[in-house]
């Protein structure tokens, strides 16, 4: 294919604005997929994606399109993940494109991720082809939304394409616009081969399959390649492109998008953002922008039944094959036994992993309260990074603790500015500024500790704004804070899995709430169980779970024996699922209670 006839583009949108639906239409109209094979949201091929309606993994599809100039073009649609947790993956996908179709819902207008993704696209110098979608809906206001877009990026409102992805209206025009407005890939066909990895998946037969955008040169079938960052050298098992199924071909040319089946056994060896070169090319320089995976949120994952440890281990291994951003290592908790400390890109990522473990691997797992990574400076001048309160060294040896802060943008109708201000203030946010998007909507900008965002923040934001607010966030930097470890002692014994790191000003209140919550969820035992929250040696809150006095069936006669025995058996099974801390039985939910401390 002539390089000038290649167009590489992606679709960017706020969630639910119609990205997947539009992709479906493009595939259909270009005949990439037959009517018979058409199922909704073809690119979202993971069960969970379909259900959540969120694209978790990027895909790349090659389409052939005959334009009005009677020429045939090769259009490569690169689908990007739709959630901020995956910003880095999005940025790599964008780096593989020259253009971006910006989809905005004609009934909703611009939202948090519209902007976040747009800015990312502009950072990559992509040609923006704006679209207002869902014009079939009665409540659509395409002109207004087009005007919003003009105000935002200075593209004439008249050039914003009205589309109904659902009904196919305007999609032809959009395809034309992609051909005429998006520039062909640059790249030097005669230079040594270089390609950018923007995604990957694990295939049981072909090993790690990396999705690449060829930047320079040509790769021929069977030529050995090298992954620069991970320094792996392989002889590819297969080259090809997605149509949308994997379709082998004998070469990948400059500007093209396709895949290389590496045969590698772990996705860690083929990192998104890495550069692929020929194995014998020594002088080639790496493409810019590679970043190793940096998880932001950490939590302990424990099997609810101790004997499932190995199953959990296998499941994590398998998940990691397909998800390079998931990291984990074994962890032992006094309270919970053997498990893993896992790192995630964000809360949403954590939720997805948890759900996949439970659903795809049928595992019952207990997830401890999430933590961020703290940088601890010790008195002897060392800086250590910890991602679990349990790893915090003794108070007396700590010089200072720094925590990650985020820049967050909240998009909300003006009516909810008050509630948003209130809830962010409670979470130590620093207000930066406010900007009116139109008369009814504002963007509020804050700086906020990540630790304040990982527990229930999004849900609360949604409920404080009746679901209207949207949120975008990105890492800002580490800042020192007056942070302390809040320990929980049950029956005099510290329960490691319940410790949290909090700001000193909040320790008292959090401690009290935690203690009273635990008092509610820890069932009465045969003896009185004191629950204490402590900072260092100082107890800041306490309560007692009174000893159980009465637990006996009043009656057990001939007609009751089976039923009452079954009742006792159920009780007994319930107790087996509890975790023993010393001689106290603590139900699983207690460990989650840190997550939901009612205001």
């Amino acid at each position: 294919m002539n390089q000038s006839h290649i167009r590489n583009f992606c679709i960017i949108a706020h969630i639910d604005h119609g990205k997947s639906t539009l992709a479906d239409r493009l595939l259909q109209i270009t005949g990439t997929i037959s009517e018979r094979d058409m199922q909704e949201q073809v690119l979202d091929d993971m069960e969970l994606e379909r259900e959540k309606g969120v694209t978790i993994k990027a895909s790349a599809v090659r389409m052939r399109y005959q334009a009005r100039d009677r020429q045939t073009y090769e259009l490569n649609l690169i689908d990007t993940p739709g959630h901020v947790d995956f910003t880095y993956e999005v940025s790599r996908a964008l780096a593989a494109c020259e253009g971006a179709v910006l989809v905005v819902d004609a009934t909703q207008g611009i939202e948090a991720q519209t902007l976040a993704n747009l800015y990312l696209a502009l950072d990559h110098d992509l040609e923006i082809v704006p679209v207002v979608n869902k014009i079939d809906l009665p409540s659509a206001r395409p002109e207004e939304v087009a005007q919003e877009i003009e105000d935002l990026i200075g593209i004439d409102a008249a050039d914003v394409l009205p589309v109904s992805a659902k009904e196919g209206t305007g999609v032809d025009t959009l395809l034309e616009a992609i051909v005429t407005r998006v520039p062909p890939p640059q790249g030097d066909p005669d230079a040594p081969f270089r390609a950018l990895i923007f995604d990957s998946h694990y295939d049981a037969y072909k090993g790690v399959v990396v999705y690449v955008r060829v930047v320079d040169g040509v790769l021929h079938d069977r030529e050995p390649v090298r992954l620069m960052a991970t320094e792996r050298q392989v002889e590819p098992l297969e080259l090809g492109f997605f149509h949308p199924q994997m379709t082998p071909s004998d070469r990948l040319e400059t500007g093209q998008v396709g895949y290389i089946a590496t045969g590698l056994k772990t996705i860690r060896d083929a990192r998104v953002g890495d550069t692929v070169t020929l194995a014998d090319a020594i002088t080639v320089s790496a493409l810019p922008g590679y970043q190793p995976v940096k998880p932001m949120v950490f939590a302990g994952l424990y099997p609810t039944e101790g004997e499932d440890y190995n199953l959990l281990k296998d499941a994590l291994e398998k998940l990691q094959l397909n998800d390079a951003s998931l990291i984990y290592e074994p962890e032992t908790s006094q309270a919970l036994g053997f498990g893993f400390r896992a790192g995630f890109l964000g809360l949403f990522h954590m939720e997805i992993i948890q759900e996949r473990l439970e659903r795809e691997y049928d595992l019952d797992i207990l997830v401890t309260a999430p933590s961020v990574a703290y940088q601890v400076k010790t008195r002897d001048g060392q800086v250590i990074t910890i991602d679990s309160p349990a790893q915090l060294p003794d108070e007396s040896t700590i010089e200072s603790i720094a925590e990650p802060w985020m820049r967050i943008s909240v998009y909300t109708p003006t009516a909810y500015i008050g509630p948003v201000m209130e809830m962010t203030t409670k979470r130590r946010a620093e207000f930066d500024h406010m900007e009116y998007l139109d008369e009814q909507r504002v963007r509020l900008e804050y700086r906020m500790p990540l630790s304040e965002m990982i527990v229930d923040f999004y849900d609360q934001l949604k409920s404080a704004t009746r679901g209207y607010a949207s949120l975008d966030y990105q890492f800002d930097g580490y800042r020192e804070g007056d942070l302390v470890k809040l320990d929980v002692l049950v029956n005099g014994q510290p329960v490691d899995a319940l410790s949290i790191i909090v700001h000193r000003d909040q320790a008292y209140q959090r401690g009290q709430r935690l203690v009273s919550k635990l008092k509610k969820v820890i069932p009465r035992q045969l003896f009185t169980v004191p629950i204490q929250a402590a900072v260092g040696k100082r107890v800041i809150s306490r309560a007692n779970v009174k000893a159980l006095r009465k637990d006996v069936l009043a009656k057990c006669y001939g007609g009751d024996v089976t039923r009452k025995r079954k009742l006792l058996e159920r009780q007994k099974k319930g107790k087996k699922r509890m975790k023993m801390v010393g001689s106290v039985e603590i139900p699983q939910e207690a460990f989650m209670s840190v997550l939901k401390l009612d205001e």
């Binding site: 009656k555 057990c556 007609g559 024996v561 006792l568």
Partner: protein, 384 residues
């Protein structure tokens, strides 16, 4: 060894607000057909399990809503087909205020020699809350009539732990019960059973939820008070004058064989336990259907096999309810061929240390505290 025979009478005049027994109000037209079906099942059971009967118990429901004629028919079936021992304990439950002196005389005449009266409480407000058909006076009157009819073995059932009940009102109820000098007293802590109106009212917040700690206080108060009055506790919820323990119920707690006839009745014999269908009409239809009669009873709905491990567990779960005799080492060894130590040594030691059991190497029993925490003990002996 003689067995216990239980006969279920699933009828009541009205249904009490806390009741989840298999009983129905307003089914008067089925009394006759039911009594016939019951007699028929009794005859069948006797032919299949021809064992001497040491105790007989008419329970319900309210057995005394049946006419004497119908009761006679049922009891006659028992006496005709089972070898009922001469000194057999024959109990009938009865509701105060619903039985005349003549009725009680006739009942006594039928061979019934023990009467168990559901007094429940002597507090008017509490009686109303429970939806009982009688008042406190009705209980006194019925006790008098029972004595006059020749019953020298009377039980009163009382309930405590009621919504809104206080220690004082409970103490008053106890005094009034003891003033009637029954030979036997059962004290049941209220269980708010699924689907009962009383439970719904509590869940809706229209009645205060009972406080289990207060119920524990009530239990201990009663225990002290009854002891002073010369009643001996022999089971978690049962007290009697010496020698007046309920022989029929002892069969259950000693995990000995029994047969139950009637709608929803349970039987446990020869390593199997089964229970009959609960609805009255279904029961009648099943028993009176012609053709081959299924084993063990045409009315059986379902059942389970009691293997040795389960039998051991149940023997502990039931036997430990007996507060004085508990589980005797000798009995256990005779029955299962191993000692308690061999079977449960570790569990026993743990529960002894927790102050819930006492063990003098001949008997294993609940402590006073253990009596209120029985579930914690029983569960430990179950095989699951």
């Amino acid at each position: 060894m003689p067995i216990g025979l239980y006969l279920h009478i699933p009828f009541c005049r009205v249904r009490c607000t806390y009741c989840d027994f298999n009983t129905y109000a307003g089914l008067g037209r089925l009394h006759g057909p039911y009594a016939d079906a019951l007699a028929q099942e009794v005859r069948l059971l006797a032919s299949r399990f021809p064992r001497p009967v040491g105790t007989l118990f008419l329970g319900g429901g309210t057995p005394t809503v049946l006419s004497i004629k119908l009761l006679r028919r049922v009891l006659a079936a028992c006496f005709d087909t089972f070898a009922v021992e001469d000194d057999a304990e024959i109990t009938s439950e009865a509701n105060p205020g619903t039985v005349s002196l003549d009725y009680l005389r006739a009942l006594r005449h039928l061979g019934v020699n023990r009467l168990s009266l559901g007094a429940q409480t002597f507090d008017r407000g509490e009686l109303a809350m429970l939806g009982r058909v009688h008042d406190a006076e009705g209980v006194r009157l019925t006790v008098q009539r029972a004595r006059a009819a020749g019953f020298d073995n009377l039980n009163l059932d009382l309930i405590y732990g009621l919504p809104g009940q206080t220690l004082t009102s409970w103490a008053r109820t106890l005094e009034q019960a003891m003033a009637l000098t029954p030979e036997h007293i059962s004290l049941y802590c209220l269980t708010l059973e699924e689907g009962t109106p009383l439970r719904d009212r509590v869940l809706q917040g229209r009645l205060p939820a009972p406080d289990p700690d207060l119920a524990a206080d009530m239990y201990e108060l009663a225990d002290d008070r009854l002891a002073r009055e010369g009643y001996r506790q022999y089971e978690i919820s049962n007290w009697s004058r010496p020698g007046y323990e309920c022989a029929h119920n002892l069969v259950y707690w000693r995990n000995r064989p029994y047969l139950g006839a009637g709608a929803g009745a349970h039987s446990s014999i020869k390593g199997q336990r089964w229970w009959n269908v609960r609805p009255v009409q279904t029961y009648i239809d099943r028993v009176t259907a012609g053709g081959a009669t299924p084993w063990p009873s045409p009315a059986a709905e379902d059942g389970e096999i009691i293997d040795r491990a389960l039998e051991m567990g149940e023997t502990m779960m039931l036997g430990l309810r007996l507060t004085r005799e508990g589980v005797a080492e000798a009995d256990f060894r005779r029955r299962f061929g191993l000692s308690l130590e061999e079977a449960y040594g570790d569990v026993i030691r743990e529960l002894v240390n927790a102050g819930l059991l006492t063990w003098d190497q001949t008997r294993l029993r609940l402590t006073r505290r253990g009596r209120l925490l029985g579930n914690r003990v029983f569960a430990r002996f179950l095989p699951c």
